[in-house]
């Protein structure tokens, strides 16, 4: 089947309708804190069992990409990432909304998500087989160093004190160890509590650490939740497009980062968003204030997390290794459909695969009008809802969303307690982002470390295992650069200022 035939097959009314419905359902589910993209796909996947493979894949892809985008709504309007992929979106999205630029932030998130999604899907269309080799080149030790590299990004995420940021990251890593150990099933750090045996769910922790502090401060004061400009300004589309063009390098770089991180199994949109955000922050121009409502932060995070959709499908379809958690669910659905993933999928079932990829591209484009409309509606709802109704509504959504993750009341209690801890820590300069980063990267780091340690010990060459592989060395170099660059930049800046004064 030629590319044109696949495109025409994707453009049938049924496929267009499924793409539209998938994006709407995905965005709505992704916007609710606690309901992740994985859950959105998992909940809606049974509807695809009776469908032919190509429409089924298009529906799942549309739900997935819609849900990843939908996470930005609550991240911007409530400081609560709707999905873990939107963690970095909160850092500048919420400050923008608070100062009265919520409408611009929502439009920017939509545009960046569409561009990121398109770049990821185009990579899937054109470069899938060669790029999938990247996933195979990563062993346990590379994942360990990747997690350490992710932790080094704390230097970019820390507001004020790097020391506090690093301590917060270490606290998050330790909290990620609570519960039954994955490697050897020891019960760790529960101190006799049955509530903690199930461990700390990352999504519950995210909701608690980001949303509960906002609620605690929201209930205490009579003022408005978000500043609102009196005159209506519509979507502010032209302004958003202008910002996007100004920050085109950030947009493209973040989309490429998202695609590559999506290819790496287990990393996912949250890591992609944070890596792209920290890179945008590191290369900020004078006057750009990341963490205080800088549009570039939203562009980086949203383009990167939506690019992971296409990137994640590369190892899923070519190797049968899911790139991201929702890909694992889609992989299961593919097997139900009777499709065997692997290098031969593109030749044996090229008609289905290319129709799906075109369908994903169309769904991503459809996200533009749908996203703008839904975003506008969500923004209006939040700014018009009186605080007396907003506080209990958000509290209720956090509770039901957290419960739904594992059908566990313990998760709800943990979410609230972590929220209070996050609020206290936040008051004394320990930001939530590094703690959550530690929580997300903890399991990746531990699994990689223990596996690499075991293999290295068996080979009698621990140093070679950890420091002797080319990809590991490259990641270590990036890590050192990431940690050192803020200090070096500060020194250069001081020197330049001193020279200017002289």
């Amino acid at each position: 089947m030629s590319g044109l035939e696949a495109l025409l097959a994707a453009l049938t009314p049924l496929n267009l309708l499924l793409a539209l419905a998938g994006v709407v359902a995905g965005a709505a589910i992704g916007a609710i804190p606690g309901l992740t993209a994985t859950m959105a796909v998992a909940v809606l996947v049974p509807f695809t069992f009776g469908m032919p493979p190509a429409p089924a894949l298009i529906l799942m892809g549309a739900i997935y990409t819609g849900a990843i985008y939908g996470g930005a709504y609550s991240a911007i309007l409530l400081n609560t990432p709707g999905t873990p992929s939107a963690i970095a979106t909160t850092l500048d999205g919420y400050p923008m909304a608070r100062r009265g630029d919520g409408d611009l932030a929502m439009t920017l998130a939509c545009l960046a998500s569409v561009v990121g999604g398109l770049i990821g899907a185009l990579a899937l269309l054109t470069l899938a087989p060669p790029l999938s080799r990247v996933a195979l080149a990563f062993g346990p030790v590379e994942y360990f160093w990747l997690a350490i590299f992710g932790l080094s990004l704390i230097s970019a995420l820390s507001e004020g004190s790097l020391l506090k940021g690093l301590a917060g990251g270490a606290f998050g890593l330790l909290v990620s160890c609570i519960g039954v150990a994955e490697v050897s099933a020891d019960v760790r750090l529960t101190f006799g509590s049955q509530t903690l045996v199930g461990g700390i769910n990352v999504v519950a922790a995210l909701i608690g650490m980001f949303c509960i502090p906002v609620l605690i401060d929201l209930v205490a004061t009579p003022g408005r939740h978000l500043n609102v400009v009196a005159e209506p300004r519509g979507f502010r589309l032209a302004e958003a497009v202008r910002v996007l063009i100004q920050k085109k390098f950030n947009l493209i770089r973040s989309s490429v980062v998202g695609t590559v991180v999506g290819i790496l199994p287990g990393a996912g949109g949250s890591v992609a968003g944070i890596v792209a955000y920290s890179e945008a922050r590191r290369t900020a121009r004078p006057g750009e204030q990341y963490g205080k409502g800088e549009p570039g932060g939203i562009i980086a995070s949203e383009s990167a997390n939506n690019a992971t959709v296409g990137g994640g499908f590369i190892p899923t379809l070519v190797l049968g290794i899911p790139g991201t958690p929702p890909d694992a669910v889609i992989l299961g659905a593919l097997l139900v459909q009777g499709l065997r993933t692997g290098p031969s999928l593109f030749t044996d079932h090229g008609d289905i695969v290319y129709t799906f990829i075109w369908g994903l591209l169309i769904a991503t484009i459809l996200m533009l009008p749908i996203g703008l409309l839904l975003g506008r509606y969500a923004y209006k709802s939040i700014i018009t809802l009186p605080k007396a109704l907003l506080v209990p509504s958000v509290a209720f959504m956090t509770m039901i969303g957290t419960y739904a993750i594992r059908n566990s009341v313990s998760d709800v209690v943990i979410m609230i307690v972590l929220g209070v801890i996050g609020w206290v820590l936040g008051r004394f300069g320990f930001a939530a982002a590094p703690i959550v980063l530690g929580l997300i990267l903890g399991p990746i780091a531990e699994q990689g470390f223990v596996q690499a340690w075991t293999i290295g010990s068996a080979q009698g060459d621990l140093a070679g295992m950890f420091f002797g592989r080319p990809i590991s060395m490259a990641i270590i170099a990036f890590t050192i650069f990431s940690l050192a660059s803020p200090i070096l930049m500060r020194r250069w800046k001081l020197k330049a200022e001193a020279a200017h004064v002289e």
Binding site: L35, V43, R98, S161, L163, K164, L166, A167, A170, F171, L173, L174, C177, A181, V183, S184, A185, D186, R188, L189, F191, I212, L215, I216, D217, L218, V219, A220, T221, P222, G223, P386, K387, A388, L389, L390, V391, P392, S393, A395, F396, M397, M399, I400, Y403, A404, N407, V409, V412, V413, I416, V417, V420, R427, F428, F430, G442, F449, V450, W453
Partner: protein, 165 residues
């Protein structure tokens, strides 16, 4: 506390207390790792706990040697530092109580009661007759709407309540 010029003392005593608590948590974690059967389970948390202790000690040392001064505080930050403490505490207590009551009273009843109480806690404006009628109706619609979305559409098994089953 802010003064008139919008500045506040830069002493980081609160951060020092948090750092001390992190040292205690790290030490407790190290102690806990010695009860594990498998060394593989212990090596990662023990290493991380040691790093946490060192970093938290670093925060403490910096606090001990820091110079006193003043930092500027924006009006928004000042407003957040103030506000009603009873409302803050009530919010947390109601949410925790709702979570703990959920298995006994069931999700729907717990949600309706807690929504109502939180509505009263978050109400800063005067109660007009219109608000008395409209707000509970809107609240009920939100709770019931989300209940049906999760329980019926997404098939999440929400607690029915041990006292009613």
């Amino acid at each position: 506390m802010s003064n008139d010029s919008g500045t506040t003392p830069a002493s980081d005593a609160g951060a020092a207390i948090v750092a001390a608590l992190l040292v205690i948590f790290g030490a407790a974690a190290v102690w806990d790792t010695y009860s594990y059967f498998d060394f593989d389970s212990a090596v990662f948390p023990r290493t991380v706990a040691a790093v946490l202790i060192l970093l938290a000690l670093g925060v403490l040392v910096r606090w001990l040697f820091q110079r006193a001064g003043y930092v500027s505080v924006s009006p928004a930050e000042a407003a957040e530092n103030g506000g009603s403490w009873p409302r803050r505490i009530a919010l947390v207590i109601v949410m925790l109580a709702a979570a703990l009551a959920m298995p006994w009273l069931g999700f729907l009843i717990t949600a309706i009661i807690s929504f109502g109480v939180l509505l009263v806690i978050a109400m800063h404006d005067p109660w007009t007759p219109g608000r008395i009628v409209v707000y509970p109706i809107v609240g009920l619609a939100i709770v019931v709407g989300f209940y049906f979305l999760f329980a019926k559409l997404l098939m999440v098994p929400l607690p029915a309540g041990r006292w009613f089953v």
